[in-house]
Symmetry: C2
């Protein structure tokens, strides 16, 4: 899904398609000597060259054709109109719970774009019912579009606005909220909302998809049904991420927002609960809880909104040969906090000790996580860990780096008091620490 509206064509390729009266989404034929390509003209990146036009072939692949003097381009069909099947909205069943779906973008909202490149999140209520008719028997849906963002462009400022919007809908009576989101940074947003939305009365479910809804293999409909079912009926009131449990369509698993991480570039079950059991799952339209330790849904709970984040928190992934001046840069630029992604049980090289001593003097809060991802930091085992403890580095238990980063950004959105920040960082606020590693398996949830 693009955030731009232009076709991206310019110079001679723009001239050629304009001359042939071709628009984005039209079916075209491009002939070059003996080679002939037929397909749909799709838009180009704003940084693309002027030489190539890009066609989506029938088999779904894109091909770029370099324009040569002998190239012939013709239009052979109109672009498919970006409309969904005509549909009479189902009569609302007042007995069903009211679920608000808020779209922020991502593949799950990219139904039309896949064919034409146009920006059109499929998230009016009627569009949704057209894609997933089952929803009308699950909940009364109110669908709203907040953003149309690639999730890699989501920033802490968006987290604040999303939290405010969710709070608004809950205060207006939503019995559950579903947030559609690009999968790339959905784990970060899930952690951010976990800290920003406290004392929740109802569930907040983030959902996305790895393939767009108009592809036969799409995971969008099953993920969405699972998310809406959880929002409407789950017994918990937490921020949770709903996604396929396995590559098949059997169950949608519900991961706690502070413990979930994207662990595969393309699989349907890319999200994993790391160092924790998932909260539950949706199977055969029923919710099965997998742990007893969760915050209960309760109408009498009064939501506490704490939506501020401070971006002056950095993430440093340690590696052999890392220049200590990288650390110095953060100190010179008035960062308030730093999350280290160290090795093993929570180590970095001795070459960083001087920088960490300066950090402590400048009251920069430094937390340690492990690039192993799975397992728990323990800085008491080796001298090198104890050295780091002496230098004021705070061990962050079984919390992985991404959640630690979000938490520290959130902490400095709440307080400027360094000692209070350290106390909050060590405290288990929203299930970000597990008292023991419940599921001690790497990768598998």
């Amino acid at each position: 899904m693009s955030e731009e509206n232009g076709s991206g064509y310019k110079g001679k390729t723009l001239q050629a398609i304009t001359k042939a009266k071709i628009e984005i989404g039209d079916r075209i034929r491009v002939a070059q000597g003996e080679k002939v390509y037929e397909g749909i003209l799709i838009p180009r990146s704003e940084y693309a060259d002027e030489e190539h036009i890009v066609i989506k072939l029938k088999n779904g692949y894109n091909v770029g054709v370099a324009l040569a003097p002998e190239t012939r381009i013709e239009k052979i069909g109109e672009g498919a109109k970006p409309a969904f099947a005509a549909l009479t909205l189902p009569a609302e069943n007042e007995k069903l719970p009211k679920v608000v779906i808020i779209s922020t973008g991502g593949t799950i909202a990219s139904r039309v774009d896949y064919r034409t490149g146009a920006v059109r999140p499929a998230l009016t209520a009627s569009d949704l019912y057209s894609v997933v008719p089952e929803l009308s028997s699950t909940a009364r849906i109110d669908a709203q579009i907040l953003y149309s963002l690639f999730s890699e462009n989501v920033t802490p400022k968006h987290w604040t606005e999303i939290a405010e919007k969710v709070a608004q809908e809950i205060n207006k009576g939503a019995e559950g909220v579903v947030l559609t989101h690009g999968t790339d940074t959905m784990g970060y947003t899930a952690a951010a909302l976990s800290f920003a939305l406290q004392n929740l009365p109802v569930p907040v479910i983030l959902v996305g998809s790895q393939r767009s809804a108009d592809r036969p293999s799409s995971d969008a409909p099953t993920n969405l049904i699972g998310a809406v079912t959880a929002a409407a009926y789950a017994p918990f009131a937490e921020v949770v991420l709903a996604f396929h449990e396995s590559p098949s369509d059997t169950a949608i698993v519900l991961h706690r927002g502070t413990k979930v991480r994207k662990c595969h570039t393309s699989r349907r079950d890319t999200f994993r609960s790391v160092n924790a059991s998932p909260l539950g799952k949706v199977e055969n339209q029923k919710i099965v809880m997998l742990t007893e330790g969760f915050r209960k849904r309760s109408k009498s709970s009064k939501l506490v909104l704490k939506p501020e984040f401070d971006e002056k928190v950095g993430l440093m992934k340690f590696h052999p040969g890392m220049d200590p001046k990288v650390l110095q840069w953060y100190l010179d630029n008035d960062y308030k906090g730093l999350i280290l992604e160290g090795t093993g049980l929570g180590h970095v090289s001795k070459y960083l000790h001087d920088g960490l001593r300066t950090a402590a003097k400048k009251n920069v809060v430094v937390g340690m996580t492990s690039q192993c991802i799975w397992g728990r930091v323990n800085m008491n085992v080796y001298y090198s860990g104890r050295d780091l403890l002496s230098l004021g580095v705070i061990p962050l238990e079984d919390m992985f780096a991404e959640t630690a980063l979000v938490k520290l950004m959130w902490i400095f959105g709440q307080t400027r008091d360094v000692e209070e920040a350290k106390i909050l960082l060590r405290k288990n606020l929203m299930g970000e620490f597990c008292s023991r590693t419940l599921l001690d398996r790497v990768g598998d949830s």
Copy 2:
């Protein structure tokens, strides 16, 4: 294992233990009111305070006791001498292959330190036979100490020296080399040696342990036997990392050096082959190959040593709220290359586009990997990926960030020609790319 020799005690704690004639490793009793602790005095970090003395209790845990005026300290036994069981070296069986074990440090070499804090890698041949007597019937062992390093302090300069040392031993006739190494950065070193030692005639096996050899639950002996067996008899001639396949003692799995990553802070089977099948395993003293695609052991191969690395290569793990000035810092400091650990299929936010445009202008080579770790980068699926391709970012397929970083450091150790560097970065040199994802499971090997 410490790199320092001092006890770490100073001020009043040093006075107290000196007065009581207690040395590191002695058994002591500390009484404070009703509380009495008995155990072994262990050394402290050089940055530790002057208030606490630290005792290793019988149960293996360390306890720190704050010195108060009423604290009484007494010595109740001499420190265990850092000597192994007396042993007559086994007569060498000339029919057995000659394996050279080179120690660089790490937990596997920390037998004595665990009790006394002294630096004494357990790696003379007689020490090894004392810990693992089985070795004498497997190979003729020549054990040498190169370093005593915590592996988080290993730098690219050490990679160069290790590669040179391994090459020297192979050229002198070793039929297999075992390298003991701390586990924290052993994956990085395995990748580094994979690129530095080309056209190998014999196997080079890295091995470590998660627990020191004198603990009953240690994985050191089984890992070491597996590594020596592979070095002596494996049909391949590659750089491989040997470690437990599962938490039990059944098999030692052999991971290709460019595809192996530490994925758990404390488990015995912490190392995983990522986006690849392991090369093989050692089970019941036999080597079982798990893939046919490997470089064969061959006496006639002439080792090609390319040990140079250039540290002017950075690693940037992208996250929401990342300041584009971090990227600018690398450009201002004359970095030659940069590995991005992007989101999903290989994305970073549009806020980094300006910096990446500058990078391209300055001839900085930028490669893209995914923080998902598992799966393959594909920057043709979304506009944002295509934008990055237009900006010259090189997609690094299924190679994870750590190996990509090591590879680019190695490339700039071989050439200063940017175009040649880009060609090398895209080329599958040492199995760092898999043509398809053989094992598409997250975490589990």
